[in-house]
Amino acid sequence: MHIVQAIVFLVVFVAAVYLFARKARQIRRNILLGRDVDLTDHPGQRWRNLLLLALGQKKMFRKPLVAVLHFFVYAGFIIINLEILEIVLDGLLAKHRLFSPILGGLYPWLISAFEVLAVLVIIGCAVFLIRRNVLHIRRFRGHDLDGWPRSDANYILITEIVLMTLFLTMNTADQVLQIRHYGHYAATGPFLVSGHLMPIFNPLSSWLLVLIERGAWWLHILGVLAFLNYLPYSKHLHILLSFPNSYYGDLNPKGKMENMPAVQHEVQLMMDPSLAANAPAGDGPPPKFGAKDIFDLTWKNLLDAYSCTECGRCTAACPANITGKKLSPRKIMMDTRDRAEAVGKIIDQHGGFQDDGKSLLRDYISEEELRACTTCNACVQECPVSINPLHIITQLRRHLVMEESSAPAEWNAMFSNIENNMAPWKFSPDDRDAWVNG
């Protein structure tokens, strides 16, 4: 019996890990479709950001209450993995509570700590469910969440509650059986939470309790493996990607826009023709200006897209969105991820990318959205996982203006004023110091 269980477990476990690894590879490939940028400088500062922002969740604490609840769920999630380690080893080795004899008196303390965390996770998830579905919080009501994204969030919260409940159920049944000295259920010492739940199970017969205990054990680990495979399709990928994303986050002042060396070079040649003699002969494809599709964005932009939690903190702070414009930085990130997924699918089907007549610009993100951005950096400031929606917006704007010459008439007037009068308005450059005599 035990051997059969172990074999079934092994098959399920290997299959789950294999499927996850396959999807993870696809995502990695999709992210690397973006153009290259070197983000390996200042490793010290980057590690600090990873520790502070991803592990320490520093930005979450801009909203302290939510931060504490999120921290419960998060700490519960991370730490309970230790307990899952035991479950997996038990499953593979056909053992029961493998760590109990090894850890001795420490074991019940450890499990008790996990149980307390499990309760905190349940509380946290319950409050989050209420916040999302009952309370009218603007960032959870946005239309960019309609459909799948809204259900996705709820599925995850409910799953976590179920998993934690299964964990507590398993421990409670186990403890009752321990006290009855039933079968292999060796005494571990009392657990803090499930110890108090024992009266519920006391009236039940021992074989039923074994059924419950085994049932909960299997459902728990199957749930965890299912969760693992659900992650890559969900906004909850941030559990994993927030770490690399914080590491590779911007170190420059937020106001600094990315330079375009190709344009700089061309302008230099234009301004100083003597440089042209030494200029390298232009072989290779002509440079693209700005971004039209995900291939023109950087891999960090795409990593951003896959890291987005869809929490909407960016959108809630966006002045354009607050005043009813179409722009939502959260949607910019979700669109980018959707497009990357769509491109990935084409590659999977055809073994390479084939033009599907679509692009991130227009088919996903409209000009109207792009035009509304004030480059205020509020979205960048707010994002708890170091995402920069503004960088995508400015690259798409560059494409519009430089590749398509598509700008509102007023901007074209501004451009020609700058070019001819050295100022965005139609004043004579000779009057530039007229204020002195005012």
């Binding site: 002042p253 302008v267 005043t323 509304a372």
Partner: protein
């Protein structure tokens, strides 16, 4: 007030302590010109040798770059850097956060390396050095003042405290809006929005911000940016408060009550 240009300094073989980068708004916008004059008068009264570029100054290219026109930005930057490097400029002060950001963060990569300070920081440094003396009974004493964080000084460059410290010289009561510092709300002008109509929405960004500023009950809204100045002034007007609530730049506030 005698204001010398960089060219005049160079001709006389002298070098000024600092170059005052006026910026397009500060040069041409009638309201912003007052800020420019106020700041220049502070430098003048403290006998700080400063220069302007005068007709040799050009737009930094900020609105062009943010609208997406990198070519135009690079052209402006190239010309400005030629001029600045030609004069061997070391230190620049400007009353415009957009110019400040571009000169400080974006010109170095293109070969323009200067010490760039925004006038809020510059005034704070003068204040810390004890150089700014205020009148005994200033006109803002005890009045309620609220301060609007410009995006390009605040979030873009993490400067939140310098302007607030300068405002303390006024002996006024500083009241904060709900969205302030890193939570501040944009005035709606950045990213070249100043130069076009807003997209369709339920209200204008500057109306939203104007309402928040007026809502503090302050009689003065302090700004640090000529573009915020325009936007907030409109926002206050929309609230029908243009007679009781004044929008003033920190330089104007200081200049008015300097001893």
């Amino acid at each position: 007030m005698q204001i010398k240009t960089m060219a005049e300094y160079a001709a006389s073989g002298e070098t000024p302590e600092v170059l005052f980068w006026v910026g397009c708004a500060g040069s041409f916008d009638q309201r912003a010109q007052k800020i420019t004059r106020a700041f220049a008068s502070i430098l003048d009264r403290l006998s700080i040798p400063f220069a302007i570029l005068g007709k040799e100054e050009s737009c930094t290219g900020d609105p062009a770059r943010r609208a997406g026109n990198e070519f135009l930005f690079q052209m402006m930057a190239y010309n400005n850097i030629q001029v600045l490097n030609g004069y061997g400029v070391k230190k620049i002060v400007t009353a415009c956060p957009h110019c400040f950001n571009t000169l400080k963060n974006e010109y170095p990569q293109l070969g323009g390396n200067y010490e760039v300070v925004h006038h809020a920081t510059y005034l704070q440094q003068l204040m810390d050095a004890g150089r700014i003396k205020m009148k005994e009974a200033g006109s803002f004493k005890g009045k309620k003042i609220t301060y609007h964080d410009s995006c390009y000084l605040g979030r873009a460059n993490d400067i939140y405290e310098a302007p607030r410290q300068v405002l303390q010289l006024l002996d006024a009561e500083l009241v904060e809006m709900k969205r302030c510092r890193s939570n501040g709300l944009c005035c709606g002008a950045g990213g070249a929005q100043m130069f076009k109509e807003e997209e369709k929405g339920s209200t204008r960004i500057n109306f939203e911000r104007g309402a928040a500023a007026v809502g503090t009950g302050a009689s003065v809204i302090a700004a640090n940016c000529p573009f915020c100045m325009t936007m907030l002034t409109d926002g206050v007007k929309e609230q029908g408060k243009e007679d009781s609530v004044k929008v003033l730049d920190i330089a104007e506030l200081i200049a008015q009550d300097m001893a």
